[in-house]
Symmetry: C2
Subunit: 315 residues, 2 copies
Amino acid sequence: MHFLVTGGAGFIGSNMTDRLLSLGHKVTVYDGFITGHREYLKEASKNPAFNLIEARLEDEDVLGEAMKGVDFVFHFAANADVRRGLEHPLKDLEQNTINTARVLEAMRKNGVKRIGFSSTGSVYGEAEVIPTPEDAPFPVQTSLYAASKVAGEGLIQAYCEGYDFQGYIFRFVSILGERYPHGHVYDFYKKLKEDPTSLYILGDGHQKKSYLYVGDCLDAILTVIDSCTDKVNIFNLGTDEYCEVNDSVGWITKRMGVTPTLSYSGGSRGWIGDNPFIYLDTEKVRALGWKPKYTIEQAVIKTVEYIMENEWLIE
Amino acid sequence: MHFLVTGGAGFIGSNMTDRLLSLGHKVTVYDGFITGHREYLKEASKNPAFNLIEARLEDEDVLGEAMKGVDFVFHFAANADVRRGLEHPLKDLEQNTINTARVLEAMRKNGVKRIGFSSTGSVYGEAEVIPTPEDAPFPVQTSLYAASKVAGEGLIQAYCEGYDFQGYIFRFVSILGERYPHGHVYDFYKKLKEDPTSLYILGDGHQKKSYLYVGDCLDAILTVIDSCTDKVNIFNLGTDEYCEVNDSVGWITKRMGVTPTLSYSGGSRGWIGDNPFIYLDTEKVRALGWKPKYTIEQAVIKTVEYIMENEWLIE
């Protein structure tokens, strides 16, 4: 199969690219290198089945050309900076919602009809049902990021109904592992490198979060795509557990060998729109035979070790 | 209070404008007259508390200026042509989702924080629960129109959480009554004027639909805004009944005094993305003391009578 991976120089996209190449597929990475890293494609670029198109999704002509001969699109390109959404209120709309529409249009015009989409567990807002299943009560959005992803989901679903597309929508918890580029492990690691004696934590440290190791995430995505033939396929991806921010801090500091004094901003939320408890029901994907190989603790430690070996990432 | 009504020269917007003026409010209508009608504002324009800004939502400077001194925005401007969404796949995104973002940004920049939004019962897709309550299972979108409205809802919700807005989201069934500009009553009336002897109906005639009279719709909206003080307030608006397309055809033909031979395209849907059964649970708004004054049959007949008196609409 010939896959096109938008955001293929990013965290999940580059890991998926390597995986698809290892499975013998042809992969075209489409990336504008706004947040992507060339280093992530170093191995892939040695493979003759790999092709890189360096362009933005806004370059609709290039995007259309890129679709020719493609069988399946993984649309991973996105603004993933959930926390700072309020500082630039239109960025999520432009980079997530509108660019998803651009990808769908480029596909439609070129007869490409299968798409995998990285949505987010944040679309459940402050869920009333925990663990939260895919058919939880119609949620209220609490961040511009999640709102932009709900909008992307809706567009894909409408293309499935209207233009005979097949859509695979994955609502992720936060993903950890190799090439992890930002988020709490990154932030804490960076702060502790600068000052290993103290660590300031947003919120009260009791926010409950769920994480998934990137390799397990890829396994789940490929299991779903191999197994499911519905028009619209929606799956939560996560582990069957959660941790508190304090747990994660403990694992990170232990692995780094530091013993900082902890202080807290206080309150149940790290920032406006932060969700104090994300925990997804993953029964649906587990019923396909998938289960994660790594616990949250292992995923956090693997991430710390990856950053240790790639400190250029925090510079 | 000073209200700004986007789409104020449209069906629901102009009716709301007249209502707000009659209640003694100041009203600024903001309309680009793409689908709006000047005739709808004839009465309003005689009122000194009425002000018209003829501009498009894309004119962000004008929109920002228009927000100055406004207390509450009714954002009714939208592409409401549900059926032809597939012919112009980006129109709903541009006119509904992106323009909602423009309205929200203009409000934020000018300190206006209260918004009422016309969403749609179509956001429930092919609902699993009928009658469908506001907290129905997280739906799958089946039209670009509904997808664009879900996206607008999400944006408003995120602004409520992030920028301390207060949002009133109304998920309408189809609205009927004076100034009704398009939809099945309009289409059937027009066809029967051209040829009263036969009528071709999309679908099998058994699609179940729910309608609400525009006056009842306004009553409900104003009841909600007067009664509800939550950050995000979401209400279904509809009658406690539904009809089949065939019922509606019967009422229309009877009122017009014609007896056409009926023929059908067949199938359970009138078009791709058409929902064969829309029926909303309106318990939540009824609990506030509101109830509709007119049945679906009465609303259909009032609409036919309005078109009879305003045949310029179908020309």
